[in-house]
């Protein structure tokens, strides 16, 4: 059986979740590989969530928040804007591919963009293969 990546989507309540909802209500077709969790703000997304997602079975994690300046809480998205690059720098030291974590800004009107990002990320992670769990080692 071919490998179907599991992607955890963590979407902010105000923009990105509404954007994903728009993709659905406008009958946009996109990969069924994303499992969406709604958070109140992308600023709530801690690096631990992403590491735990990998440990629990995700092959990739997609975090979506409001565009800069548009945050419902004024600056929550700036927090995640600072955390993800630092997390990615650390993950690269640990041999984890850059494409497995992705941060995107999706507004409530960008249903099409959400769908195409999910499609693109699904294909990238499919090429990488499953996330190496259990420490990725046998000894």
């Amino acid at each position: 059986m071919s490998f179907e990546p599991k992607i955890l989507g963590i979407l902010c309540n105000w923009c990105s979740y509404a954007g994903a909802d728009l993709a659905g209500t406008s009958r946009k077709k996109y990969s069924p590989n994303v499992r969406v969790v709604r958070v109140m703000c992308s600023g709530r997304v801690e690096p631990t969530f992403i590491l735990k997602a990998f440990e629990k079975g995700a092959d990739g994690v997609l975090i979506c928040g409001c565009h800069p300046v548009d945050c419902h809480y004024a600056e929550g998205n700036y927090k995640v804007m600072r955390r993800i690059p630092l997390l990615k720098k650390m993950l690269s030291q640990l041999g984890i591919e850059d494409e497995r974590v992705r941060l995107e800004w999706i507004s409530a009107s960008e249903g099409d963009r959400f769908a195409s990002i999910v499609d693109e990320m699904t294909e990238q992670v499919r090429k990488l293969g499953p996330f190496p769990r259990n420490g990725g080692s046998n000894g």
Binding site: T48, L51, F54, M81, Q93, G136
Partner: protein
Amino acid sequence: MAKLKLALYWAASCGGCEIAQLQIGDKLLKLAEAADIVFWPVAIDVKYKDVEAMPDKSIDVCLFNGAIRNSEQEHMANMLRQKSKILVAYGSCAYEGCIPGLANLFNRQLIFERAYLETPSTDNNDGVLPQTNYQVPEGELTIPEFYDTVKTLRQTVEVDYVVPGCPPEERTTWLALEAIIEGKLPPKGTVITHNAKAVCDDCSRKRDVKKVEKFYRTFEIIPDPEICLLEQGLLCAGIATRGGCSAPCPQANMPCTGCYGPVDGVIDQGAHFLSAVASVIDSNDPEEIQRIIDDIHDPVGTFYRYSLPDSLLRRARIK
């Protein structure tokens, strides 16, 4: 009352934990009044076979320091668990893997190649690497198997208590020993310290608004002795580290490096520390943020200095 039977053991560690145990000074006499030491490889001559001959659960308390990185250490962890009523992970190596745990950035093959072939001072033209079995005319020689991954004591056997620190401060060691001697141990699983809150709670520095435009390494600046070190751009782990040590490092104008492990409720100290550091970056511009992050040269060594084997990812993935 019969005297307690106490065992002390070291696995993958530096020997600093033994020094920390001796640091309790004249309290050692109180310990000697209450307990007989039945096994302590660094100080008394008791062989492994003597421990093996002890009945199960005949040792009251075993303080085990050091991480598990080879088959001998794993064997001793299992044996001491079997022989001891209470097993204590003493020190950061047994608790979280600590500095030996940074070997999880590599694997056995890479470590052997570096240590036995590539280092400039190595003269090994035949490319000899350690083997677990070797035949010599006198018979077969064996050494323990070296594992790919360093594990914590808790990942190997059931652990009853933790005494954190690299090495544990004198007051923390005595807090645990006193509880053992008086039979007043906290609930199983407790990390024994004076303060379950962060190091910042012990630290007397002035705290204001945390907004950092540039991170420094310790040799790059002489920090102000009064103001929070993180606010001055030093990567101080106090914000993500359990207190109880009384913050000796910040008092000496050096940032906390995180040796007491995570505060209660945090499962991954490194991710917690990373999150805190990222949040204080004073910029909303992706390019500038990247420039500020570029000053953090070794994120794994900074955020997981003591806890890589105990982290959610445990080790690097090697292709």
